[in-house]
Symmetry: C2
Subunit: 256 residues, 2 copies
C-alpha cells in the first residue's frame, strides 16, 4: 500500500539532498505530514506537491521565506499558482532572450571594432528586474499565449485560408525583393513600412505580434537555415535585409 515516502526517497526523486529537506523542515517551509514511531520523516503526495512548488519558485530565485508566504497564502487557488508560474517563466525567458540579444549585439560590435557606452553595456541588467517581472509578465513575449493563440486560430483554417495566406506572403515577398533590388537601405522608410506589413500579416493571421516578438522572429530568420534558405532563394542577401528592416522598424516604433 506504500503509505508515504522517506526523506531519501523524496530527495532522490526530487533531485535535492536530504539536508535540504531537513532544512525546509527546520524553517517550517515543508514539514512532512507525519513521522514513524521511531522518528523517521514520512512524506505524502501532498508534501511532494508542495515540494515541487517550492523548487519551482526557488529556481526562479525567490528567497525561501517569500516562497512560504506565497504558498501559504490561502487566497490563491492552485490553478492561479500555475498561471503565475507560467507568467514568471515567460518573463524570465524573455529576460534571458534579451541577454542573448545583447550578446549578439556585442558580437556584432566586436566584429566591427565598435565601442559601446557604459550605459549601453549594462542596460540589459535592468535595475529593478525582480519587480519588473510581474508587470512584464503580462506582455512581452506575450508568453506562450502567443503560440497558443496561434494554434487556436490555425486549427480552424481550411485549405482556402492557407492558400490566401500563401498568396499574401508571396506578394509581400515580391515587394521585399523589389525593394532590396532597388537598393533601398533596410532602415529606409519604405523598408520599415514593409517590415510593418510583415508584422501586420502575422497579427492578422496568427497572433498579436508586438515589436518584441517581431524582433525575435527576425533573429530566427538569420539563426535558422531553413528560414535563411527560403529568403536567400528569393534573392541573395534578403534574409539579412529583412532582418535589419524589422529591427529598424521596431526601433523606430519603440522610440516614439
Amino acid at each position: 500500500m506504500s503509505t508515504g515516502y522517506s526523506v531519501g526517497q523524496v530527495a532522490g526523486v526530487a533531485g535535492v539532498t536530504v539536508r535540504t529537506l531537513h532544512h525546509y523542515d527546520e524553517i517550517g517551509l515543508l514539514s512532512p505530514r507525519g513521522r514513524t514511531a521511531s522518528g523517521y520523516r514520512r512524506y505524502e503526495d501532498a508534501d511532494l506537491d508542495r515540494l515541487q512548488q517550492v523548487l519551482f519558485y526557488r529556481e526562479l530565485g525567490f528567497p525561501l521565506e517569500e516562497i512560504a508566504a506565497i504558498l501559504d497564502d490561502g487566497s490563491v487557488s492552485p490553478a492561479e499558482h500555475l498561471r503565475r508560474q507560467h507568467q514568471l517563466l515567460t518573463a524570465r525567458i524573455g529576460h534571458l532572450q534579451d541577454l542573448a540579444a545583447a550578446v549578439e549585439r556585442a558580437m556584432e560590435a566586436e566584429r566591427m571594432g565598435h565601442r559601446l557606452t557604459p550605459e549601453e553595456k549594462f542596460e540589459v541588467f535592468g535595475a529593478d528586474y525582480q519587480e519588473s517581472w510581474e508587470e512584464e509578465a503580462e506582455q512581452k513575449w506575450g508568453g506562450t499565449d502567443a503560440w497558443k493563440e496561434s494554434r487556436r486560430r490555425t486549427t480552424r483554417y481550411g485549405k482556402a485560408d492557407w492558400q490566401r495566406i500563401k498568396a499574401e506572403l508571396d506578394a509581400l515577398n515580391e515587394r521585399l525583393v523589389r525593394a532590396m533590388a532597388a537598393g533601398l537601405a533596410p532602415d529606409s522608410g519604405e523598408a520599415m513600412d514593409l517590415a510593418e506589413v510583415h508584422r501586420g500579416h502575422i497579427t492578422d493571421n496568427f497572433y498579436d505580434c508586438g515589436y518584441r516578438i517581431h524582433r525575435g522572429l527576425a533573429a530566427m530568420y538569420l539563426a535558422d537555415p531553413r528560414f535563411t534558405a527560403t529568403y536567400e532563394q528569393l534573392a541573395p542577401g534578403l534574409a539579412r535585409w529583412l532582418h535589419d528592416a524589422i529591427i529598424a522598424n521596431a526601433d523606430r516604433a519603440e522610440r516614439s
Copy 2:
C-alpha cells in the same frame, strides 16, 4: 576628460551595490585599475567590461571563484567568450522552456483532474543540470556553432546552389505529402526514413544536424506560425506529421 569612474558611479550604472564591488575587490575578482591619492577606487572602461562579464556569469548561477577562473583563462578570446555565453543562454532558456512546458502539462492535468506520478512531477528538475550545461552547451542546439557553420557555408552559395537546394527541398516535401496522404503513421519506418532524409539534407547543405538539433527544429515547426504555414499549405496536418516523424526518428536513433 573623465578619466575613470568612482565606485558609486559604477554601482549605479551596473545595477549593483557598492558593497558588491568592494567584495569583488576583496576576493580579487575585480580590482579597479587604480586608486586616487586618497585611496578612492578608480574604475576604467576595461574594468567595466570585466564587470559586465562577471555579472553575466553570475546571473547564470556560476560561483564567483569559477567566474574568476573563466575570465582569467587567457587562452580564451573575447569572441569565444561571447560564443560560450550565447551557448549557456540558449541552454538555460531551453531549460526554462521545459519548465514552462511542464507547467502547461500540469495545468492540463489539473483541468482533467488527472494525477501525475512523483517521477513525472519532478522529471524536469533534472538532477545534474549544473554539470549538464557544459555538456549540453556543446550539443543540443548545437550551440551557436551550428548557425555559424551555416553562415560560413551559405555565404559562399551562389544562385545555382540555392536553386538546387530548393529543388531538393521540393522533392522531399512532395514525398512527405504523399507519405502522409497514403496514411502512413509518423512512427512508421518509411516516415522515419523520410525524417532521416530531411536531416541529411540539412547536414549536407547547412551544418551538421544531430538528433538533438533536429528535435529542436521539429519543435519550431510547430511553435512558429511561419513554418507551420509553409507546411500546412502543402497539406493540412503536415506540420504536425513531420514533427512527429522527426521525433520518432530521433527516438529510434538515440535508443540504439
